[in-house]
Amino acid sequence: MPTREFKSVHQNTRRVDSVKLASGKGTFVDDIKMDGLIHAKILHSPHAHARIKRIDVQEAERLRGVRCVLTYLNIPRVPYTTAGQGWPEPSPYDTVMFDSVVRFVGDRVACVAADSEEIAERALDLIGVDYEILPANFDPRKASDSGIPRLHLEPDKRGIHSPQRNIAAHVLADVGDAERGFAEAELVHEGEYTVHYVQQASIEPHITITWMDEDGRLMVRTSTQVPFHVRRIIAPLIGLPVQKIRVIKPRIGGGFGGKQEILIEDLCAMVTVRTGRPCRLEYTRAEELHAARTRHPQIVRMKTGVRKDGTLTAISMDILENTGAYGTHALTVQCVSGSRALSLYRFPNIHFEANAVYTNLPVAGAFRGYGSPQGFFALDSHMDELAEKLGLDPLEFRRRNHVREGEPTPIAEVLGEGREGYKQVIQSCGLDECIERGAKEIGWKTHRNPDPRAWILGPRVSDSSNAGISDLKSEISEKDRDSNSKQTNLKSEISDKDSDAKLKPTNLRSEITDKDSDARSKPSTLKSEISDLKFGVSRRLCRGVGMSCTMQASGIPGVDMGAAWIKMNEDGSFNLKVGATDIGTGADTMFAQVAAETLGTSPDKIIVYSSDTDMTPFDPGAYASSTTYISGNAVKKACEQAREQILEVAEEMLDPIKGTAAHPAGKESSTITRPDTKDLVVHNGKVCAPDGRFVTFDQVCLRSLYQEHQFQIQGHASHMSYDSPPPFCAQFAEVEVDAETGIVRVLRLITAVDCGVAINPKMAEGQIEGAVAQALGYALTEQMVFDEKGRPLNLSFKDYNIYTAVDMPELKSFLVETYEPTGPYGAKAIAEIPINGVAPAIANAVYNAVGVRIRDLPITPEKVLNGLKSLQLSQSSAAQV
């Protein structure tokens, strides 16, 4: 719990940038005009695997308005990784700017820069390419088989675990002795879970603008999460030293991991270096949807040993990860899958193995959660299955076994991100309260379906006794269409007709709970019930509730380091320079709050400037949930330094003889003593002495800048940590399954998060709500689909369905506040964790509703229907026996 009253932290401070964004001023990357700007376009491979036998750019180069054409023939070959990670990057150097081999549909073949986008497009058509089509593999299970093409055998590539077996990365980690643990178990359960290709789909595509300034330095203005990594990684590719490159990050239209990547900056920069002209490169949405980055699909096998009383004895987790054609983030994502999933519960014995393999499919990279959504889909589904086998309530089972304050997470020590980790001990854990709040809100005791198989024996759709329901529902939907208003008539209709119809118990229950929840629910719940009644007539609607528990981390221990500078101005304001990257998350505002809290002023007095490699100190960037915990601590430390200086100046000013501070009315100078700095308090932009005298910040700064012992009040600090305190989350879903079509509708999604102290609770809520919307797509509707030649089928939002405002179920979020002693003012992290547990909560809810276990995402109606049909078949064949 917070140990004191906060003034600026833990407040719903209005964001520092929201006014300009509401006015459409934004200043995103593309919101500038530049003279002489040329436009770059990329020629992408139409083949999943091919060698470029011949590439002829002469005609393209000759087209009027074309400024340059780049291919593997005129670009030096420098292997690197596109992963925006700290040096040395734990991803293989298996990529080159242009290669003579293309490895997925969408891979780079050439780049044209011309006076207009249109000319560049035409020039792309004029590039002649002869491909030798090579066999391609799209199945990760086959990647290491003989006869399957190897993607990266070139000797100049480095860091690939086994090019001969197409294995980009491999991890092995053990705690205790898993075999012995299984031997001690009274029950061993196994399962295989698969998760699929999805996309970050930030509304702003990838975009970069580069130009040379007057000093011959390259300016890179780009939509990125990692400006410092961009600078370092493109330097050798374009032949410029780091000192000749400046990367600027303006407003970013969302990243979610897709921009934790050096995706196009190298090309744009190369064009500028070659032509001397400013260059702009923006991805189209079609390019975003197959030639950018995605989440890593995984096949996760879990085997767990447990005693009948529910104690866990061992777990073995085996991941086969599909990293696509290049291995960016391959190692670290699967490490995170393991270290998060295996840290949450007390497994005394753990065996973990993961292999990331190459396939001729789009390149997987970083995406919010970074391995956790995959790992927890497997783990949380698995835990529910275990609970069922043991005859235990899945909630109790989790509660009994999850890690608690004071306990270690042994896997974290052996499994860092790409290297050994560090010992972690949980210092704050509000998971129990998260579970309690969420369970109460969803109605765990009242809304769980006691008999998921009841629908099989329910009334058949054509029974006349069922006519009650169908008449009823069609009447309701008619009224709905006619009247255009929703609420009260419908409720009374439901209760009247219900008593007439002869219904089987469980169906009746779902009708009753309609009434109950109608009675106490807000209009939006009712809306979802009515809108689905509007959908059709007569169906078997089965409701169920499921849950999940997840955790994440706060920064990469021993790796992430952020820095901050602060200086004071003569009106009592401050300039705060942070390396950290606000990608729309509100980080700049959060820093202003932390700074204001530390300095004793208000957030509107803090001018935040962030993420500019010339103007701000270093920060790894916006990923790994590190911004609040690591960079926030750096801000706090820098401000503490500045605060000390303010106090020293104030002390001088408050000296009764030599000082300049006013004496309080009626007091003799002889009775006033010079206060000690340790007795001075900063408050509301003033420095206050115990006797009630004070000096204001502007007075302090005027004196220090201009009058006496002049110096600039400033602070600078870095922060890194070997701790990475996990936030915790419990999520609950209520779904309704249409047993005739397999359509799953999510009615309610409850999220309870322990993020330590929320620096800005409203912003934290916003992170939850946005993450949940993305996670719903992951669970149900988003899926990148390919044909038999590896060509993507969804190249627009028409075919890649993300949730819109009318699709959202009712969301409720709770911030369960603990106090993390190592965090800035008790804070941990929140940006990623809420995305982790939605899919398994829904899968568990579907199982509760109809007894169908979906172990591979997304939960499509087809899979559910197939599951329902199998159940029906096995039931009827069992009945016949």
């Binding site: 929201s18 964004l21 459409g24 949405r285 209009p523 509107d604 919307a773 819109t804 009318v806």
Partner: protein
């Protein structure tokens, strides 16, 4: 080809190739950076603009299609507001006291002889220095207050969709410099009471604006709040 477009209260002339999209025209020729590129197929709504009173996607309109028509973007909101009754204009310069978390006022320096202007910025009134004060429409203010903006990329589109909804419901009138050619969205019977939109109506109005950051909860809240305010003031 030459185009004449009424854009945000000004009649503008352009000369662009025939295949120029409205999005391109607005961003590159007219400097309306609020209109965003999110896709090229009219699916995401980041480029939404109001043409002749109707909300449409600029990326799938040819600039030529708005020749002799009227376009409103977020840059035109001050004009939209100026044509309002005047009651609901807001002044947004974040006062220290507005923001939760305490105040840090500049106070007079008791020992200093001079009062330099940098210590007394309030000496300049809003009329003298209008550009330093931000005038926000109640809808924009609601987005700010409700924390409905995260990355802000979809925000202009949502704001215009909401304004179009308000116009339909009679909560506001969209101004026009060419009333004769303007298409009235929905014929309103005179004297009809202003009704705020329901949550479902707001969601439907925003359904064409894709957002990846917020989950839509707070934007919907913001629009409902603004609607309430406009109804109560009108």
């Amino acid at each position: 080809m030459k185009l004449s477009v009424a854009l945000n209260a000004e009649q503008r002339e352009f000369d662009v190739p025939a295949n120029t999209t409205l999005l391109s025209l607005l961003r590159e020729e007219a400097g309306c950076f609020s209109v965003k590129h999110g896709c090229e197929t009219g699916d995401c709504g980041a480029c939404a603009v109001i043409v002749d009173g109707r909300i449409v996607n600029a990326c799938i309109l040819l600039a030529a299609q708005v020749d002799e028509r009227e376009v409103i973007t977020v840059e035109g909101i001050p004009w939209v507001m100026a044509s309002m009754s005047g009651a609901a204009q807001h002044n947004e310069l974040p006062e220290a006291s507005d923001v939760e978390g305490g105040a840090g006022h500049n106070s007079s320096d008791s020992n200093a002889a001079s009062k330099s202007s940098f210590q007394n910025p309030e000496a300049f009134s809003r009329e003298e220095h209008p550009s330093t004060y931000e005038l926000l429409h109640p809808l924009q203010q609601a987005f700010v207050d409700a924390h409905a903006i995260q990355c802000g990329y979809c925000t202009p589109g949502m704001i215009l969709s909401s304004l179009a909804l308000f116009a339909e419901k009679g909560l506001i009138e969209l101004p026009s410099i060419k009333r004769k050619t303007r298409v009235t969205p929905v014929r309103r019977k005179p004297g009809i009471k202003k009704l705020p939109p329901s949550e479902q109506e707001v969601r439907e109005a925003l359904a064409g604006n894709l957002c990846r950051c917020t989950g839509y909860l707070k934007p919907v809240e913001a629009v409902l709040r603004a609607a309430e305010e406009l109804v109560s003031e009108g």
